[in-house]
């Protein structure tokens, strides 16, 4: 396992995060700029990348977008900004999670562990699930829409697996957070943004979804 990459321009924060995460047992590298971090990640991909939003040169959002394009590493944004539009923008750029500084190392570590668990133990036992013209193969990590392969990130894939294995049922945001992210509690916007991204890929008209629908006040449902 290549470990964790910390992209953070504040020297003291980066050093302290590297120290603390190493103490938690991770292999950690640090980069002061997005360019440096992206290069490091391309040469030796990390399992998880922590990204600050306010970076010199390429900013955090763009950095997240490029990381996402490069692969399905877990991307966690760690930022001092906690405005909703920043959070949503970061998640839409492709981040899997968003944490507001100051982050307790225990919490960060718990989230990274959850990600690692997810990456290691995918729901391989489940056979192929067919929901309408959507075909989900958890064992192969494949999703096909009308036979066409759909490229999903890991989080999107897990989210779709969860919804597909309960097709026709409503899953609340809290349930999805617990089952997909393995968070006991967390930001429900995480779910909303990832559902939105998933819709971009599996819906013909993402603005008026017909497969993955919102059940007002309750949660989300994949139409059988």
């Amino acid at each position: 396992m290549a470990g964790v990459l910390v992209i953070e321009d504040d020297d003291r924060i980066r050093r302290s995060l590297v120290l603390a995460l190493e103490d938690e047992g991770y292999t950690v590298r640090g980069s002061a700029t997005a360019e440096e971090g992206l290069t490091a990640h391309r040469t030796d991909p990390a399992d998880a990348v922590l990204v600050d939003l306010m970076l010199p040169g390429i900013d955090g959002f763009e950095c997240v977008r490029q990381l996402r394009r490069d692969g399905d590493a877990t991307i966690v944004v760690v930022s001092a900004r906690e405005d909703t539009h920043d959070i949503v923008a970061a998640l839409e750029a492709g981040a899997d999670d968003y944490l507001v500084k100051p982050v307790a190392i225990k919490e960060l570590s718990a989230r990274l562990r959850a990600v690692r668990r997810r990456n290691r133990g995918a729901p391989v036992t489940t056979p192929t699930i067919v929901v309408g013209d959507l075909e989900v193969r958890p064992d192969a990590g494949e999703v096909r829409l009308r036979g066409e392969l759909v490229a999903l990130t890991r989080t999107e894939f897990l989210l779709l697996c969860e919804l597909a294995s309960h097709a026709g049922q409503v899953l609340s945001r809290t349930q999805l957070l617990a089952r997909v992210w393995e968070y006991e509690f967390g930001d429900e916007r995480l779910v909303d943004v990832h559902v939105g991204r998933l819709r971009q890929k599996i819906e013909d008209e993402p603005a008026s979804p017909r497969r993955l629908v919102t059940v007002r006040g309750l949660g989300y449902k994949l139409i059988r």
């Binding site: 995060l17 307790a104 509690f185 309750l218």
Partner: protein, 545 residues
């Protein structure tokens, strides 16, 4: 103004000398009816003129006015004291609302104006009608007198027969006095007294005259014409028809006045409503702004009088918005600047904490202190940021409120089963604020109130209610407002030397509740302990969306 119009006295009209009428061929008349016994003309001298004869309408008006005057006189003192002393009417007047007041004022004005107009019109019509009738009566009387006079030549002539020659019909009653003896066509006794003494005297002295009188059969005009030294001819002309006309006119004018009053009230009401419409839009905009919608502006419109109000209002909101924006940016900057070093401190403190066993005793104690203080500092900063952000715009969404409350209980170490909900399970609210409110209240109960024992979620009318009960000593009445101020800790916290919280938890709850169009209060829980009650302006999710 007096309700009784000054009646022009009809007494003693100038004698009319209109003897120009040629004799009208007297039509054969029905035979005279039995004639009343000849009565001697009474000549009471020195009597005062009879009181002004009033029409029926005037009499009624007199009575009403008299009664009103008496009532006012009787109650005047009390009324005055009531008005000036207790200001009850003034208060009621102010309470009644501007629109009602305008409508009432316009109605009153319309009533006064139409009453004056009606009275004047009535008076005018009455005078001209009666004058006209009197002229006609005098003319007819002279005409009849001209018919009667030549037929009274001999003493043997039957006076009554002569009278019966006249075409008097129903409305006129001829009376003849000859040498003090009264001749008439009817037996009615009243006719005797119908002719006023003063008129008798005048005619007796050789002067013709007319006078309005009230007879047993209604108002009438008596015209007296001297025929010779000993003979006087009178004609009593009934005014009943004119009276009926006047009654009708009075009724119509009264109805018109009433209608005008009602129309005035309606007009006032609608005009006031129209005039107040801009105020309503101002109120709506102000409400919107108070609820956090700083984009609300007034349409400056085309009405020059309202443009000024609207533009000053909009200027005020602009200033307010700028100021809030400035504050918000400052708070965001401060929070950002505080968060970065805190991140370093937090991570470094964790490292210190993890390696505590490798440190010597003194360094370990110092490290513990650093770690604890960093933790406290971190909570303080996040609380301060929460307060600073409490005024930010609300983010409305549907919230699974029971799940959210249970989660907060779990996180804060309380039993999630204490959460109960009545009413809709999802609220339309700002999830983060509601979450923080419940979290802080549960936290407060856990830390200072001997543990949370109940979290109740309910809807009361348009308000969403959150109640958190604890098993602690409760809050002293004098501390109930104080505990919601920043950096204030209750007596129990102080006595325990609790330094965990910065004393901002409840202040944040108060701020958040306020920003969510609500409020927080602390009450006694029946059976001991405190009950924190938060009322929020939310609505059931999907209620009217």
């Amino acid at each position: 103004m007096s309700p009784t119009p000054p009646a022009r006295s009809p007494h003693r009209p100038k004698s009319t000398v209109d003897r120009g009428g040629a004799g009208r061929p007297p039509a054969p008349r029905r035979p005279a009816e039995a004639q009343g016994g000849p009565a001697t003309g009474q000549r009471k001298s020195g009597t005062a003129p009879p009181p002004a004869t009033a029409t029926r309408w005037q009499a009624t008006a007199h009575r009403v006015a008299g009664a009103a005057l008496t009532a006012v006189r009787r109650r005047g003192r009390g009324l005055l004291m009531w008005l000036t002393g207790r200001r009850g009417l003034t208060r009621a007047w102010q309470r009644s609302g501007l629109r009602t007041r305008v409508a009432a004022t316009v109605a009153l004005g319309a009533l006064l104006l139409s009453a004056i107009m009606a009275t004047l019109s009535y008076q005018l019509i009455r005078n001209s009608l009666l004058a006209e009738r009197q002229r006609t009566a005098v003319r007819t009387a002279f005409y009849d007198a001209a018919v009667v006079r030549p037929r009274l030549a001999g003493p043997a002539t039957d006076r009554v027969q002569v009278l019966s020659l006249l075409d008097t019909g129903q409305g006129r009653r001829p009376v003849l006095y000859d040498a003090g003896v009264r001749y008439a066509l009817t037996t009615d006794v009243g006719a005797e007294s119908d002719i006023p003494t003063t008129l008798r005297e005048m005619v007796h002295n050789g002067q013709a005259g007319a006078q309005r009188v009230r007879t047993a059969t209604g108002p009438a005009i008596v015209v007296g014409i001297p025929l010779s030294d000993t003979t006087e001819y009178y004609e009593i002309v009934s005014l009943r028809e004119a009276e009926a006309t006047l009654d009708l006119v009075g009724l119509v004018l009264g109805l018109v006045a009433a209608g005008t009053t009602i129309a005035g009230a309606g007009l006032g009401w609608s005009a006031a409503g129209r005039a107040l419409r801009p105020l309503k839009s101002v109120a709506a905009a102000a409400r919107g702004i108070a609820a956090g919608d700083l984009t609300a502006r007034l349409d400056t419109g085309t009405d020059p009088e309202l443009t000024q109000l609207a533009s000053s209002f909009n200027d005020m909101v602009d200033q307010l918005q700028q100021r809030i924006e400035r504050d918000r940016r400052f708070a965001a900057d401060v929070s950002h600047e505080l968060r970065s070093p805190l991140q370093t401190l937090s991570a470094a403190a964790t490292v210190l904490h993890n390696r505590r066993d490798h440190l010597d005793r003194r360094t370990a104690v110092a490290a513990d202190l650093v770690v604890e203080e960093v933790g406290r500092f971190q909570r303080l900063v996040s609380d301060l940021i929460a307060i600073a952000r409490a005024d930010a715009e609300l983010q409305w969404s549907s919230v699974d409120i029971a799940a959210l409350a249970r989660e907060q209980c779990r996180v804060r170490g309380a039993d999630a089963r204490i959460v109960t909900i009545s009413g809709p399970s999802t609220w339309w609210a700002d999830a983060r604020r509601v979450e923080q409110i419940i979290g802080n209240l549960v936290e407060n109960a856990q830390r200072h109130g001997g543990g949370a024992v109940a979290v109740r979620l309910s809807r009361e009318g348009r308000k969403s209610v959150i109640e958190v009960d604890d098993a602690g000593p409760g809050v002293l009445p004098e501390e109930r407002d104080l505990i919601f101020s920043p950096f204030v800790r209750g007596r129990s916290a102080a006595s325990r030397g609790d330094t965990e919280g910065a004393g901002l938890g409840l202040a944040i709850v108060a701020r958040l509740a306020h920003s969510h169009a609500g409020q927080v209060r602390v009450l006694d829980r029946p059976g001991g302990g405190a009950r924190f009650r938060v009322e929020l302006g939310t609505r059931p999710a999907g209620g009217d969306a």
